[in-house]
């Protein structure tokens, strides 16, 4: 068995094993899942950086099961495996004893097998096969949450499914144009159909990453789906895979130039995602929903970074991807801890938990600061690189990014204040610190955020630059403190402004939750907020309305056709019959006249034509 | 072919019209007999003596007898009915002479058709030879016909049983 096949097969096998274990055995499932993930992490890290190829004949006609491990996808595999291990550890403990934990853990492992498969596969169709598999586990994991999670699961399934279909068309087009389906050998010009192919595949990639306009299932899933799911997939894996595929198509397959329409399109999508998502996050009253909107807005930074097509932008985008994966999952884990202890994630019911749950609070502070881009944490450095790239390509993108950071900072200040500071609510007086199994992953991830922040050469020089190859990043290193001091100054000013805004908000309303109400109630903005809250702009709802209208029109058309055939045609036949029967009025004179007249006509006709 | 034939033809047509327009059925039958007599003279003049004899005896004789017997079997209309009937009938039949006049006028104007290629067949044998040797099938047909006619008479005229029932 080839090493690559083991990497794919092992997690799936353990997942199936978990499924087959009888429900009575306590704890065996959790242990097995953690061991599975650990084995996966060890395996993946053993062959980091090697170049391995494997091609198996599969469906013929250019479609074969070909896998390729090289620097780029190996580092993403490691990131995914590490995070997966920690989150599985966390979810095993947090979901211990719950009914659906057996299914959930199995799904986690199976989806990891599929992620490995997708990342490793070199043939687009093979990648598509694993990519669609993930769609199923996504649906299953949401649906397993609670009873009415099924509706959100279908919503997610439809949105992601439709985008996958579009991606499939893109892949077919690209395959048709380039003649081959293996990613490493493909080279598709951006003219005409090639551009269309790129657009379709880009839609597939950013929809997997969860950026605008395909994001609307994530906030719903935040409420319905079990929390570890949010931490694992929307938090980490989906971002990794989406951005990995986006970089592969824009750098390897289509080789975009700096100023092509595609890159500007990506940048605008990125910028819009940053701004709109963070504005929505600002007004959320629920811990998990707020975090989910941030997950969407962070994707905007990555797409913007890669969209700039500048070396600094791309490296910044990828670095941001890793950082986001870390602090986003850790934030979700803190949310999980709060939910497990306080029983709710509504911010107005929480308050003053900082004393009760000091370690969770500490991890929250570290990851919140890094997501807001406060130096010395990792978020700051990757955002600076993205700012540098954005500035190079256009002021507007830089301002959008910076504005995004301002709102991110403001919303996390509100979240921290509302949840952990302020006076302790009477209900959760008996709240105590989360169990160690849940705390260890949080602490580890938080520490890794700090490490990646301070010593950021490690990720950039050792992992990202070799992955991209010299052609792209022009040989000079981006590690260390950002060169462009003006940018740093800008960021610091923005952060201070966010802090002042928070203090002003708190003073004005008296409680942490109201920190951003003054922004919320701005006349124009509040109208949009109400509409957005009720889901008017959600493409999924618009689609559903269109489908219902089409059904109505078609059924009425059908009724008209039925009426025509059952009434009009029958009436016509009967009346013709009646008329003809009336003609035969029984008098022989009539019949003789018919015959004579007809004979005269026949004679004339024949005389003329014969 | 000379004027006498034309005269005969005209006379025949007039007799025919009179028979059609005739008030009572008897007059119609007599008219028919007269037409038939003139026709047999014409046939005689056109070189078919046997056919003329047949026409005279059968058409003028037998058919007139059949008609008269049928008329007698059916209730003769009273004199008054005939007069009243005939007034109505004349209104209907008045158009006949007009139409005949029109047709005659059209035929005269049309003139003699040219370019008619006709086969001048050689005169083969006399009638009896033709009838008995070449047309035997027709003779056989006539025999069957007469049997059928007899059966028809038996079936249709059989009065007793029908009325009794």
């Amino acid at each position: 068995m080839h090493i690559l096949l083991i990497v794919i097969g092992l997690p799936i096998a353990t997942g199936l094993a978990i499924l087959s274990i009888p429900a009575r055995t306590k704890g065996l499932r959790e242990v097995l899942s953690i061991l599975g993930m650990a084995a996966n992490l060890v395996l993946v890290s053993t062959f980091f950086g090697k170049d391995i190829y494997l091609t198996l004949p599969w469906a013929g006609g250019g479609i074969d099961l070909s896998f390729r491990l090289y620097s780029f996808n190996s580092f993403i595999l490691i990131a995914a495996a590490a995070l997966g291990f920690l989150i599985t550890l966390y979810s095993a403990s947090s979901m211990y004893g719950k009914g659906y934990s057996r299914l959930f853990l199995a799904y986690i492992l199976i989806s990891f097998g599929l992620v490995n498969g997708a990342l490793l596969s070199d043939n687009l169709i093979a990648m598509l096969f694993f990519w669609e598999g993930l769609l199923l586990t996504l649906f299953a994991m949401i649906a397993v949450g609670n009873k009415n999670a099924f509706r959100t699961a279908t919503k997610a399934f439809i949105i992601v499914g439709v985008c996958d279909l579009v991606m499939m068309v893109g892949i077919a087009l690209a395959g048709h144009i380039s003649g081959t389906l293996s990613m490493s050998k493909m080279a598709v010009p951006m003219t005409g159909m090639g551009g269309l192919a790129f657009l379709f595949m880009m839609i597939g990639a950013i929809s997997k990453a969860g950026s605008m306009p395909f994001h609307s299932w994530i906030p719903d899933a935040a409420i319905d789906a079990p929390l570890p799911f949010m931490a694992l997939l929307p938090g980490a894996l989906e971002k990794l895979m989406g951005i990995y595929f986006l970089t592969r198509i824009s750098l390897d397959i289509f080789k975009l130039e700096m100023h092509s329409w595609a890159s500007t399109l990506m940048m605008t999508v990125g910028a819009i995602t940053i701004l709109v998502a963070v504005l929505m996050a600002l007004v959320q009253k629920n811990y998990k929903k707020l975090l989910s909107y941030h997950a969407i807005s962070q994707v905007g930074y990555m797409v913007l970074g890669i969209g700039t097509m500048t070396p600094v932008g791309i490296v910044g985008g990828l670095f941001h991807m890793i950082n986001n994966a870390m602090y986003k999952s850790c934030l979700f884990l803190t949310g999980g801890a709060v939910e497990k202890e306080a029983g709710t994630t509504d911010l107005d019911k929480l308050g003053g938990l900082g004393l009760k749950m000091p370690i969770t609070f500490a991890c929250f502070i570290i990851t919140a600061l890094s997501i807001s881009g406060v130096p010395p944490f990792n978020g700051f450095f990757s955002k600076e690189l993205v700012y540098d790239g954005a500035l190079e390509r256009g002021r507007i993108f830089y301002f959008a990014a910076v504005l995004g950071s301002f709102f991110t900072a403001a919303s996390f200040l509100k979240l921290g204040h509302a949840a952990f500071l302020g006076k302790l609510d009477s209900r959760n007086s008996k709240v105590k610190e989360a169990s160690w199994y849940m705390l260890i992953p949080m602490i580890l991830i938080a520490l890794s955020c700090v490490v990646f922040g301070i010593y950021n050469g490690l990720p950039i020089d050792r992992i990202i630059r070799p992955a991209l190859g010299n052609a792209i990043h022009g040989g000079h290193s981006f590690a260390g403190f950002p060169k462009n001091m003006a940018l740093v100054a800008g960021t610091v000013v923005v952060l201070i402004a966010a802090l002042l805004n928070h203090l002003y908000g708190v003073k004005k309303t008296g409680k942490g939750l109201g920190a951003v109400d003054h922004i919320h109630n701005v006349p124009g903005l509040s109208w949009i907020y109400d509409k957005a809250e009720r889901g008017y702009f959600d493409p999924y709802n618009i689609g559903r309305i269109l489908v219902k209208a089409a059904a109505l029109i078609l059924s009425s058309l059908d009724k008209i056709i039925d009426f025509f055939f059952s009434n009009v045609v029958v009436w016509a036949a009967d009346t013709t019959g009646l008329v003809i029967r009336k003609m035969h009025n029984g008098s022989h004179k009539m019949y003789i006249m018919w015959s004579l007249v007809a004979t005269v006509i026949v004679i004339i006709f024949l005389m003329r034509t014969m | 072919m000379n004027t006498i034939d034309i005269v005969l033809l005209v006379a025949m047509t007039l007799a025919a019209v009179w028979s059609v327009m005739g008030r009572s059925l008897l007059k119609a039958t007599i008219g028919l007999a007269v037409t038939s007599a003139i026709l047999s003279i014409l046939i005689f003049r056109l070189g078919s003596p046997l056919a003329a004899v047949f026409e005279l005896s059968v058409c003028t004789g037998l058919i007139t007898v059949v008609f008269v017997s049928t008329i007698s079997l059916t209730k003769p209309l009273t004199h008054k009915d005939i007069i009243e009937m005939s007034k109505k009938r004349n209104r209907r039949f008045i158009y006949l002479p007009i139409i005949l006049g029109l047709v005659a006028f059209a035929l005269i104007r049309a003139g003699i058709p040219k370019g008619l290629i006709m086969s001048t067949g050689e005169t083969v044998g006399n009638v009896t030879e033709v009838l008995w040797n070449m047309r035997q099938l027709d003779m056989f047909g006539q025999v069957i016909l007469i049997i059928a006619g007899a059966l028809g008479v038996v079936v249709l005229f059989a009065e007793a049983k029908d009325d009794a029932k």
Binding site: - | L9, S48, A51, L131, L156
Partner: protein, 107 residues
């Protein structure tokens, strides 16, 4: 009218046949009495016989046409007899020979 060629003869006899035919058909369509309809049929047959004999005379094969005419006459006698029979049966049923009553079968 001096002795004449075949097409002239055909024209004369043809037109008189047509006249007789018109008279016959008119009477057949217009008449109300059963027997007068039979007379009309007889008239039509007379026209045909005239035409037959004329054709025989014109094309010089009188023997053949005579044979045919004789057969026609025999056939027509039988037809007239049957028509008479039907007339009497109708009279017995309808008590009148008016054929406009014979229009029960319609639709």
């Amino acid at each position: 009218m001096t002795p004449n060629n075949p097409s002239e003869l055909l024209y004369v006899f043809g037109s008189f046949t047509i006249l007789l035919l018109v008279a016959g058909f008119y009477c057949l369509v217009v008449t109300r009495s059963f027997l007068r309809a039979v007379i009309a049929i007889e008239l039509l047959i007379k026209a045909v016989t005239l035409f037959f004999i004329a054709v025989g005379y014109i094309t010089g094969k009188p023997a053949l046409t005579q044979a045919l005419v004789i057969t026609v006459i025999v056939v027509e006698v039988v037809v007239v007899v049957i028509a008479g029979g039907i007339a009497i049966s109708v009279f017995r049923k309808n008590d009148s020979l008016d054929i406009t009553l014979l229009n029960k079968l319609k639709g």
